[in-house]
């Protein structure tokens, strides 16, 4: 354990002093301040929603949740993608492993240091958002609200740690940092953009709309989608499409997180990817209801985190330490 602690301290100091971390931190602080401001404005217009809406409410651009959906993968992956292969290429891994430490101390220390760096980022971001929102709104969270915020913080840390462990896995599986970086970027794009496009495509292919929607202009009925007549047949098909899309989107950890985070905040957010406007985007939930509604999502993220870490751990322990390869 002593070895892990030494590696942990060194890696954490490296993270906190690295340009990479500082750049990400700056971006996140800037954007989250903006989203706290937006959330506060949103709350002023919808005063019955309660303090927690600063994390989910949006007027234009990002809410905190959407910020994490979009930037979370890149934050986590970027702290992990070169953890092992960079040291392998530079030869410092052989130097490190010729010291009297167990090999797992290295990967444990590195993972914990990354997770600690992410925790610091999350806690300070949420702290700054609250600190901004209270003077803007003139009131703070309730005691229950604080519990919700703590849960949201923990969920966010776990979600970011999942991306960290995926990055770590890439760094163990590939020899070159350029390869693992590419893999990270590809994963990020897939989760953030590609998967929602795919979901729409597949849903549209599986549930084709066999008739031409019609629009009523004046007394005439013309073909077009601008304001389709909401026949029950049309609605049913669209609902079907919607549920297929949703099922596909479940593959993406970003979507799992956004659902779980919304549930913890007591809201069911309208998914920004889906074309259907649901008439009631907000429904109040208590924390326990929210957790009950999202435990499946939370479990899947936790399992993903564990699987990535365990695979990297085993791969790393079995790795032959040959210079340059």
């Amino acid at each position: 354990m002593a070895g892990s602690l030494t590696v942990f301290r060194k890696e954490l100091a490296d993270h906190l002093g690295s340009k990479r971390y500082l750049i990400l931190f700056t971006i996140i602080i800037l954007l989250s301040s903006l989203s706290a401001y937006q959330g506060s404005q949103y709350l002023k217009n919808n005063p019955n929603l309660g303090f927690l809406a600063i994390f989910s409410g949006q007027m234009f651009g990002f809410s905190f949740i959407q910020l994490m959906v979009f930037f979370g993968p890149i934050i986590g992956l970027s702290l992990g993608f070169d953890a092992i292969n960079k040291e392998r290429t530079s030869g410092s891994l052989s130097t490190l492993l010729s010291q009297p430490i167990f090999r797992d101390s290295v990967i444990n220390g590195k993972f914990l240091a990354g997770a600690a760096a992410l925790s610091i980022m999350t806690v300070s971001t949420i702290g700054i958002m609250i600190g901004m929102a209270i003077p803007l709104l003139g009131f703070g969270p309730t005691l229950d609200g604080i519990l919700n915020i703590i849960s949201l913080t923990l969920l966010t840390i776990m979600y970011l740690a999942f991306w960290l462990s995926l990055g770590l896995l890439f760094s163990v599986l590939t020899k070159k940092t350029s390869t693992s970086m590419l893999a990270s970027v590809a994963t990020w794009l897939t989760c953030v953009i590609v998967i929602s496009m795919l979901a729409t495509l597949i849903a549209n292919a599986v549930v084709p709309i066999t008739f031409t929607p019609t629009t009523t202009i004046g007394n005439a009925t013309v073909p077009g989608r601008q304001n389709p007549q909401q026949t029950s047949e049309y609605r049913a098909l669209m609902e079907q499409r919607f549920s297929i899309q949703n099922m596909i989107l479940k593959i993406s950890p970003t979507n799992l997180y956004s659902e779980a985070a919304s549930a913890i905040l007591g809201v069911i957010a309208s998914s920004s990817f889906i074309g259907i406007d649901r008439s009631t985007p907000f429904r109040s939930l208590t924390l326990s209801q929210g957790l009950a509604a999202s435990w499946a999502n939370i479990t899947i993220i936790a399992i993903g985190l564990l699987v990535c870490f365990i695979v990297s751990y085993i791969k790393f322990l079995r790795m032959e330490i040959r210079p340059g390869g």
């Binding site: 530079s90 130097t95 009297p100």
Partner: protein, 311 residues
């Protein structure tokens, strides 16, 4: 002599269907500078990785300082300083910081790590570079830092994998002097691998030659030279001013001379017993002049090539 520092019995390592190391039996005793010689890919690095527990043998057993290489590899790494092949460092940290980190990993206290790091940087001649980031270091400086890193734990055995690879002659000399100094002043046992014969010959007291994963020969350096001299016989290298064919014939006729060979302007005489004086007299009788006459010693290169051909 008490327990050997390194003792391997039938050590074998197989990667897939490639046998990197085949039944290695090796003994290194305290105070030796053991040179492990072999061409690239002969199994030198594999052996070293096995000895410090960074790789697990397919079969066979070995002890280092009395510790089992599989079960007690951590104890080995606590007591053995290793300079790995192409040792690397954290490029964005200074030499001092790099060494301090290694010190901490060896359970030294923070103050002791700092102290040892500063001392060792002086020892390896990097004192003025201690606060410079390693990315600015030349290959030779990194290699010296690598030796400092291996020494921070006050090792009982130093294992150096190709310590002078990629260094210029001046750098090679510095490393060699450092190795000899450590051995002489601290009585440190040193195991070093190299593919450079000359380097081993100048540094080591004992030599093991490895090729294709097999140990070809292993003995004290002077024994090896003697052994070869015995099997090949004594030899003389001569340079004679205008040697005539009669002269050479006559030398060949001397009892004790087995062979005379003329190559360019030199004459090589192989003898079964030492008849140097007779040869000298014969040359004088013919009125020829000796420009050069010296007993021929076998260099490690010849030993090396000879054992290579046999292997």
């Amino acid at each position: 002599m008490s327990q050997p520092v390194i003792e391997t019995k039938g050590l074998t390592k197989v990667y897939g269907d490639f046998t990197a190391l085949d039944n290695l039996n090796l003994t290194v005793n305290e105070g030796e500078i053991f040179g492990f010689l072999g061409p690239n890919g002969a199994g030198k690095t594999t052996t070293i990785l096995l000895l410090v527990g960074l790789s697990v043998p397919t079969s066979g057993a070995a002890t280092v300082l009395g510790y089992n290489i599989v079960r007690e590899s951590r104890e080995i790494r606590r007591n053995v300083g290793l300079l790995p092949d192409f040792a690397g460092f954290y490029e964005d940290l200074s030499a001092q910081k790099n060494l301090e980190y290694i010190g901490l990993l060896n359970d030294l206290s923070k103050t002791e790590s700092e102290k040892r790091a500063t001392e060792l940087l002086e020892t390896v001649g990097l004192g003025e570079w201690k606060n410079v980031n390693v990315e600015k270091f030349s290959r030779g400086m990194k290699q010296r830092l690598g030796i400092a890193q291996a020494l921070i734990k006050r090792p009982r055995l130093l294992i150096l994998d190709e310590p002078t690879i990629g260094l210029d002659p001046a750098g090679t000399k510095e490393i060699r002097e450092l190795i000899l100094k450590l051995n002489k002043e601290q009585g440190l046992t040193i195991f070093l691998s190299s593919h450079l014969l000359h380097e081993i010959q100048m540094t080591c007291t004992h030599v093991g030659i490895i090729n294709h994963g097999r140990l070809v020969v292993c003995d004290a350096l002077h024994n090896l030279t003697e052994l070869l001299t015995e099997s090949e016989g004594l030899s003389l290298e001569l340079k004679i001013h205008n040697p005539t064919q009669e002269l050479l014939k006559e030398i060949e006729g001397i009892v004790g001379v087995s062979r005379v060979l003329q190559k360019e302007d030199k004459v090589y005489v192989t003898m079964t017993s030492d008849v140097t004086l007779e040869i000298s007299k014969t040359i004088a009788r013919h009125g020829a002049y000796v420009l050069l006459m010296k007993p021929k010693e076998y260099s490690l290169e010849e030993i090396f090539m000879k054992y290579y051909e046999e292997a």
